[in-house]
Symmetry: C2
Subunit: 223 residues, 2 copies
């Protein structure tokens, strides 16, 4: 398997399948709970029972990144948790700004979700003069007109997009001008900026709601 060296361990294989990567955060959550509970070791069999997946899948998945387990023993919980966390980027020291201080932006400003995953939030940005200059859950709110400059000056990596659809294009432009490398997009539209070397993660809450409704319909029939 081709691996590119990082400036620290573990190595990050570049060809791990998307299906595996999508499961890593869930492993991290369960392992985090085990760490909190003081667990030292766990076998793929026990973890598989907890998570409702096959032990085989767990061993396959973890082995994409190297042999973290030990035959006859299982996996060392704190080590595995730290390794997966690092693989996922929690030690990169990413810096983020939230653009849009509406309801969703404020909700994101209030959570500890970012810092718990090693992402540092620096500020909120908005166009409303009534909120510019205020502080929301400890974060200063600046004018969108300063967005590019701020991102450059503070080496911001991630822009969190919670503005209305109509404002998205302009904000995205400013973020890219400012040198951000990733966009977490809550605007109700799809962004794809791979050409420009920007990583995008689109959130579509509405799609999730539709999925719930569909599954409710199906479950209603078969029961």
């Amino acid at each position: 398997m081709k691996q590119l060296p990082l400036d620290h361990t573990p190595l990050l294989p570049v060809d791990v399948s998307p299906a595996v990567i999508k499961r890593l955060p869930r492993y991290r959550r369960y392992l985090g709970d085990l760490v909190s509970a003081g667990r030292e070791r766990i076998s793929s069999a026990e973890l598989s029972r907890m998570m409702g997946v096959t032990a085989s899948q767990i061993r396959q998945d973890l082995n994409c990144f190297g042999g973290f387990g030990q035959q006859g023993y299982g996996y060392h919980v704190p080590t595995l948790y730290d390794t997966i966390s690092e693989l996922l980027g929690t030690t990169e020291g990413y810096r983020a700004v939230i653009v849009g201080a509406g309801n969703l932006g404020r909700a994101l400003a209030a959570t500890h979700m970012f810092e718990r995953r090693g992402v540092n939030r620096l500020a909120l940005f908005d166009i409303d003069p009534r909120v510019i200059g205020t502080t929301v859950h400890g974060l200063p709110v600046y004018s969108v007109s300063q967005l590019s400059d701020f991102c450059r000056e503070h080496a911001v990596d991630i822009g969190v997009l919670t503005v209305p659809k109509e404002a998205a294009d302009e904000v995205v432009h400013a973020l890219i001008q400012g040198g951000v490398r990733g966009i977490w997009n809550f605007a109700n539209m799809e962004l794809s900026l791979q050409e420009q070397g920007v990583t995008v993660e689109n959130i579509h809450l509405g799609d999730s709601l539709m999925n719930l409704c569909y599954n409710m319909k199906v479950n209603g029939l078969t029961k």
Copy 2:
């Protein structure tokens, strides 16, 4: 293909693969845009270019639910949009309550996401006496102590869970007592209530953030 009759068209096949179902809301979004733009017809080839998927996949997916297209013509946009919307449950008249009037609950109260998908929100619930009795974005806020009764009386189908982890179990219990059939879970924990015949859709925003970070790392290496 086995089909169970509904009380209205279209028929809902019970054995469509999860991969297909997950794509339906995205089709609906693109078709909605086309409807707004006044488009009458579209071919799988043109839609595939717009959406960045293969035409083959589009035809396969749509055909799971019956022959919506016409050879030599393509698909009739308004009809297809309406059909997919109905398949997804937008005409079921589902009723929802939001439990938790914190930042996220308020953000969800503010959007038009629900009504745009045929889901009617009736109320918010919270335990904080300072917000109980107030109105948030047009929705009344009631006490969680009334949750079960309210759900029964108003035939609530869906509970949206935006309470802290610690409160989740109790609220879930009340929702099930109240007869809800679906839970949209934003609490940072996994619910699985299939045994009890309740459909659950878990949202893990943190997992999505981790995915963004991972992809940023990988893209940083290969560029």
